[in-house]
């Protein structure tokens, strides 16, 4: 493998104001369009299989139909036709089939202790009479309020296993994901997706509950029709096809000084074990009308959940995805790559939920989207640095192992797509904005 360079060359000619068609990175649609019901654009990639994600991966973006409505809004529309009483009966039937009476756990609820997992576990236990075991994949770096909320979840009446990955491995994989994919959240997603099935096998609990279905946020509509989560998201038949941080397992072990055991928490569960257990993965959002804002109210009322003490940079919200300090950067990178920042995600969700209207959403996006996340930046740059003392072999793979603002900004520019960004008089600006 070649060295990660200190600086990447950005050809600014590609970013001049232009009338001619411009190349789109990541296989995104060249012509940008916006959903006319929410604020999302057709540049928003749908969930992909993270351990196959490499720098050359082509994204599949959210579908916006002939009437300029996105799939996520269509899902929201279909929700109004659902017979929730019938779904509730389905859930009760499912619980009745699995409920234990011998002192064992009967379902697994993965989550962070944020509002959604709080509601999932709490409802299953106190409303549906189940005996959930909760499992948590730790954030990169907890926020103080995220940690307190996690504790409140446990103290609302749950056993919990917290899996915290080896900090050095996690940092290295995150740095690689930033270098290769500009995706600082990837190591978290990888571990989070594989933890629950593995814990299910370990504890022999076949029934796994998540809160919301990803189709809520624009994965193909077909996904939502079945509550059972497709296997492909969390099991891999062959290890050789697996990439972490966009780097093959072979390279990670030969060039970056990692051993097989270091990678284990990130690797998908063995399908054979899952099949033998007869694992069933369900979304509560299929059975119960899921409303993120109501989840906030519910967890305040039943667990003393606290909102973040200030709005998250890049958006206006305080109750949503607030437990990881790296989260600010996660949404900043989606803004750079797809022109879609945190305010777009939050506003789109709240529009679909009926909490705000589109005009308000547009105003919020115009005001907050893409704001540079200053508050934890020094800490995050230290986190993303790979000093020789701690990483004797891996640090040699970086011309500049230490991450700083200049390095990060240059990297960011290298991930900008000409069809989204223009550069004029030292300023980057989006070619299209939601109106």
């Amino acid at each position: 493998m070649s060295l990660f360079p200190k600086s990447r060359t950005i050809d600014l000619k590609n970013f001049e104001p232009s009338e001619t068609p411009l190349t789109a990175k990541y296989g995104l649609p060249e012509k940008v369009s916006f959903c006319q019901r929410c604020v999302t654009s057709n540049q928003k990639p749908i969930s992909a299989i993270e351990f196959q994600h490499t720098s050359g991966s082509i994204k599949q973006a959210i579908h916006i139909d002939d009437e300029n409505i996105c799939d996520a809004c269509r899902v929201a529309e279909k929700k109004s036709l659902i017979d929730w009483d019938a779904r509730d009966a389905e859930l009760r039937e499912l619980c009745d089939r699995h409920r234990s009476n011998d002192g064992s756990y009967d379902c697994l609820v993965p989550g962070s202790g944020g509002k959604d997992s709080f509601v999932a576990a709490h409802m299953l236990k106190y409303k549906y009479g189940m005996h959930p075991l909760t499992v948590t994949w730790a954030p990169h770096v907890y926020t103080e309020w995220g940690w307190r909320n996690f504790q409140r979840w446990i103290h609302a009446g749950f056993d919990n296993y917290l899996c915290t990955p080896n900090g050095r491995v996690h940092r290295l994989l995150t740095r690689l994901a930033v270098e290769n994919l500009f995706h600082p959240f990837q190591a978290f997603i990888l571990g989070q997706k594989s933890l629950a099935p593995k814990m299910a096998v370990l504890h022999q609990i076949p029934l796994v509950f998540y809160g919301e279905n990803e189709a809520e946020y624009g994965n193909p509509i077909g996904d939502a029709d079945s509550a059972k989560r497709s296997w492909k998201y969390f099991s891999a038949p062959e290890k050789s096809s697996i990439h972490l941080g966009g780097t093959s397992i072979k390279d990670l072990t030969t060039d970056f000084g990692l051993e097989d055991v270091d990678l284990d928490p990130y690797l998908p569960a063995n399908p054979a074990g899952l099949e033998k257990l007869g694992i069933e993965v369900h979304y509560l959002g299929y059975y119960v009308k899921w409303h993120p804002q109501s989840c906030y109210y519910y967890s305040v009322e039943h667990g003393g959940f606290e909102a973040s003490p200030e709005r998250t940079p890049g958006t206006y919200s305080k109750y949503n995805s607030i437990d990881d300090r790296i989260d600010d950067f996660h949404y900043y990178t989606t803004f750079i790559k797809y022109g879609i920042g945190r305010a777009t995600y939050d506003a789109a969700q709240e529009i679909r939920s009926g909490d705000i209207n589109r005009d308000e959403g547009v105003a919020l996006v115009q005001r907050f989207d893409g704001e540079y996340p200053t508050r934890f930046s020094d800490e995050i740059f230290a986190y993303l640095s790979i000093p020789e003392k701690e990483f004797p072999q891996a640090s040699k793979m970086f011309e500049q192992p230490i991450m700083d603002l200049n390095y990060f900004n240059n990297l960011a520019d290298s991930f900008r797509s000409p069809h989204l960004w223009s550069y004029n008089k030292g300023q980057w600006s989006l070619r299209y904005q939601v109106k």
């Binding site: 906030y296 109210y297 305040v300 909102a307 200030e310 709005r311 305080k318 909490d355 308000e360 919020l364």
Partner: protein
């Protein structure tokens, strides 16, 4: 309108009589409510609620378009204009007031006082400018306070979203010096929780500031009023959640105050009939 006071409070100055204020947070055309000023839920039509609170005996109504700054807009004019036809207690209006002209429009529409937060933080002289034109009794400094350490609070703007770096107590003092006639003090930590007022916060401000202070955020049961009055000297309390969700009405609140020696304005029976 003249309110008759029971004999034991006749000798008190207005500052010693606790005003019970209905707080209505407004977004667009709707009455809304959040927790920690977050997760804003639509409650209903502000006009319906304001009329009810007036008829039930509110001493004052405060309208807060708490998201006006967030969205960069100002649209309380319609709400205020509608309210003046049926609501005859003092009305304070806050949210999105950025200039003397904004204040003028709201006062003309029927507001008795205007409350400013974000604009005052950006340009403190706006307090003086409004005070110079209409007098300090029309200008309320609204402060969203969040505790940073024991005995310390930071002022926030944009509905509890943006830090300002300003110490709440110092900011309240400065606001009074600049000409504010009242402090409307919201505890972001307690707001919407029904867990009680931030009594230490109110106490810290009322100890140092010589103008009326209204405590907002946290009322959830009657004892919370007693706790508040034991340690601090606010001139008013703002109640939202408990009124909107009909946990308490004004009669219950006043009766509690009477039995706990908290002086409030008492409405006579004939006053209601004469409306």
């Amino acid at each position: 309108m003249v309110s008759s006071l029971p004999s034991q409070v006749n000798s008190l100055t207005p500052r010693q009589i606790l005003r019970i204020i209905a707080r209505l947070d407004i977004k667009g055309a709707n009455l809304i409510k959040g927790i920690h000023l977050e997760g804003l839920r639509v409650v209903g039509d502000p006009q319906v609620h304001a009329e009810k609170y007036y008829n039930d005996g509110a001493d004052e109504i405060i309208y807060m378009d708490t998201v006006a700054s967030l969205y960069g807009r100002n649209n309380l004019l319609d709400v205020v204009t509608r309210a003046t036809e049926h609501v005859f207690v003092p009305m304070t209006v806050g949210g999105g007031i950025r200039s003397v002209e904004d204040a003028r429009a709201l006062l003309r529409a029927g507001a008795d006082k205007v409350a400013i937060n974000t604009a005052a933080v950006k340009d403190p002289s706006l307090i003086t400018k409004i005070s110079d034109v209409w007098g300090s009794s029309t200008i309320v400094l609204s402060i969203e306070a969040k505790q940073t350490s024991p005995g310390k609070w930071e002022a926030y703007t944009d509905n509890g979203r943006e830090r300002t770096g300003l110490d709440v107590v110092q900011w309240a003092e400065r606001g009074a010096q600049l000409g504010a006639g009242e402090i409307f003090l919201t505890s972001v930590d307690q707001e919407g929780t029904k867990n009680g007022f931030d009594c230490q916060l109110v106490s810290a401000v009322t100890k140092l500031v010589d103008i009326p202070v209204v405590a907002s955020g946290g009322f959830g049961k009657l004892d919370h009023l007693k706790e508040l009055m034991q340690v601090s000297k606010p001139t008013g309390v703002a109640i939202a959640d408990s009124l909107h969700y009909k946990k308490f009405n004004f009669n219950e609140i006043r009766a509690f105050c009477v039995s706990n020696n908290i002086a409030t304005r008492q409405r006579s029976a004939d006053e209601k009939i004469s409306q």
